[in-house]
Amino acid sequence: MSLTPKNHHIGQSVRRKEDLRLITGKGRFSDDVNLPGQAYAAMLRSPHAHARIRSIDSRKALAIPGVIAVLTGTDLRADGIKHIPYNVFTLHPAEVQLENTDGTPPFVTPCYSMAIEKARYVGEVVAMVIAQTVDMAKDGAEQIEVDYEVLPAVTATRAAAEPDAPRLWDNAASNVCVDAEVGAKEATAAAFARAAHIARIETWIQRVTGVPMEPRAAVGEYDPATQRYTLHAGSGGSVRLKKDLALILDVAEEKVRVLMDDVGGNFGTRGMIYPEFALTPWAARRIGRPVKWTCERHEAFVSDFQGRDLAVTAELALDADGNFLAMRGSNIGNSGGHTGSFTPLQKGVEIMSSIYRMPCAHFRARSVVSNTVPTRPYRSSGRPEVMFVMERLIDIAARDFGFDRVALRHRNLLKSTELPYTNPFGMLYDSGDYHDAMDKSLTLGDWAGFAARKAEAKQRGKCRGIGMANYVDTATGAPRERAEVTVHPDGRVDVVLGTISNGQGHETSFAQLVTEWLGVPFDSVRLITGDTDIVQVGGGTHSGRSMRMGSVVIWNSAKEIIAKGTRIAARLLENDPSVIQFDNGRFKVQGATPSISLFEVAAAAQRLKDLPDDLRGPLAAFSDESFNEASFPYGCHVCEVEIDPALGTLEIVKYSAVDDVGRAVNPMIIHGQVHGGIAQGVGQALWEQCYYDPASGQPLTGSFIDYAMPRADNFPFFDAEFTEVPCTTHPLGMRPAGEGGTTPALGVVINAVVDALSEFGVKHIEMPATPERIWRAIHDSKNIV
């Protein structure tokens, strides 16, 4: 890699601290945790998509050698275990809130860690068996007799919204949990009435799943002496998990400790609490031994939260010159069997118009429950869906009404002089140079040279297509974050932070900040995140919040440490604090030579008895802040595909990305995030889908044999660059980089595919754009001709 770091400061591609343990097999993932005397849990999961549980008979299971206990929803309720406290909306103040048009509150389902009375999707936990070994627990689970009354099921999003659909919750009027409207209805109608052109799309951004490579695992403990629960489990954040666990177990927060070390991927679907994370500590208390549960991959396909699944009908109104006048439509999200999170719906519909000048807009936003695995935010929650819709609408408009795709985007893309800009849903975009990113991306992707490449491909019998997509990505997330920075006299700096690295390289990037600001050696910095007995506050890792918020609270702490250090140094150097300089880790009097290090100052703070109270003791500072503004990363991707028209098979031959990150801390890590994000987006566009049998509600993608994971031979090398237009709402100018790769990828790939098929008159293709779909599109067009 040409990104050779000069030092360990901000902006350098510093090689990662965490790698040494990970490349030598010394990482510590959830399943690597084993406690003395632990028993093992196996989950009995519902084989039916929708069924009433008449009775559960555990007698035969309990007779199996090694089986210690069988626990059911009845036991859970009897023990006073509470439901999972899902926060269904993002309440971030920068975000548009969804309220039912009829004024009623949204329907939020009580979600217990095991099915109570009814199972609402295949995979819902019906009983838990604890035994001496995993195999014995599975033997026991096989012997549990459950009397089910199988009920009609509904899995498809639009079908679930119908009034006569099978009803999941008896106490709800329908499966629709949220029915809100955003934007200006009448103004939008008026704009459509005077439009010269209207582009339309009806589409379904299909159900996919996150698939972190590390399957989930949990080890629960209970100490009767202190009445404390401990959970070892990888997740997207330790503090939030602790708070949720305390609510479920109905104990004070200090009675719960959460521990996690390495986490093998998150992507949002691993970010929130899971039923098994509450069941294992509860079971540990019941049986008086630690209880371990490890998810198997086939189990993950029916129990890991899934993502996306949005049905959209949308229209874009243009005047005769191609200026956007308005957009309108309807989005329906699918929550699955329980209402875990409406945020993908919310975070999508508020930026339907992307970064284009859009005078007005109006959308209906609904969420339904269905007999499917519950959904959660998945990488760039909500945004890839709506960017897909917007970028498809633009290409459809260009094709149908005779505009050039690039010119149409240039005409309507917001200029930097128009920022800050409030979009028609009320979202305030702070800053950026959208045209610059688009132009750079078109150059990087050699848009100008495409015609020659297409002609060359034609010689080989291939249909080559090119697509582009602009995007914006709303980064919000849990607003509060806290850092505690302590300088130890022995040459170490500890940073306690409420985030968790799931592969993003926090140990490295955050150490770079500390190295930059405190001038201490990179290796002296230790990041502490995964133990809630040490980390008291913090929102974890999601919505591009870790560096965005972590940098500020570390920066504040560093400034305070320097301020304190300056006063101590003044004392040591026998001078006035106003003439003390701090540079590269050392304090000195301006213009003089003698200097003392930060660590010497830290030693003095502990040694000197006559310092003022606020300076005596450990040289430390903390910063605890709430971030009420959103950040809006943006960029433009260009993709080129080649299609073999005889089979409909497709190859991505070129992929170029320009993403704005405001200010890059570690370019190497940022590029890695973009690459991975692109692969996840392309995966959805071309291969991935959680299929359900519409009649029975049975999941049809239960393993990697049927769920098509992107592999190395599916991709070319990516051409990824970033721009750095400082974000005006971030004190250090940073914008998140973790979701930008995915956000435009769905749209850009499908735009390229449709472009490749334009000679056949194909106007749209649904995701995943499988060879069969492509072949059918060609085949159908030939039949029409």
Binding site: R15, R16, E214, H675
Partner: protein, 160 residues
């Protein structure tokens, strides 16, 4: 003969023995009996390659091999790849080229990459690398830096 049976093999240069069941998988023997937890399990259908180790010099998926089938065999895991404190060139290349993010697939990737070099030589073109990695799934990196790392690691192995 149900119950447990004695098995002996060489793992990372050391002779090890253990008592296992007929059904005990090699990966379980490594992780649970020998506490060599660097070998990971990412699926149950032998697709993901997180569990890749070398068995008598060949890369295999240790989640689809019985421990008892490895009697007298020579097994090398990710923990046995480095020479003392000196990293194997392939390990070094993964770090240098940012060929990992969460690190869960990484041990299998590295073991598979070394197997690839053993079979295909030190000069690996992009296509060969991508094709050979068909049995190793990564969700984090988009494979871009993994491919670069494998190519660089292969070249470095030539000089080591």
């Amino acid at each position: 003969m149900s119950g447990t049976h004695k098995v002996s093999m060489t793992v990372n240069g050391k002779t090890v023995t253990g008592n296992v069941e007929g059904r005990t998988l090699l990966v379980q023997f490594l992780r649970e009996h020998l506490q060599l937890t660097g070998t990971h399990v990412g699926c149950d259908t032998s697709q993901c390659g997180c569990c890749t180790v070398h068995l008598n010099g060949n890369g295999v998926k240790s989640c689809a091999v019985l421990a008892l089938a490895c009697e007298d065999a020579n097994v090398v895991t990710i923990e046995g790849l480095a020479n003392g404190d000196k990293l194997h060139p392939m390990q070094e290349a993964f770090r240098e080229h940012h060929g990992l993010q969460c690190g869960y697939c990484t041990p299998g990737m590295i073991m598979s990459a070394v197997d690839m070099v053993n079979r295909n030589g030190f000069e690996l073109d992009e296509k060969t690398v991508r094709k050979h990695l068909e049995g190793n799934i990564c969700r984090c990196t988009g494979y871009h830096n993994i491919v670069l790392a494998v190519q660089a690691g292969a070249a470095a192995m030539k000089n080591s």
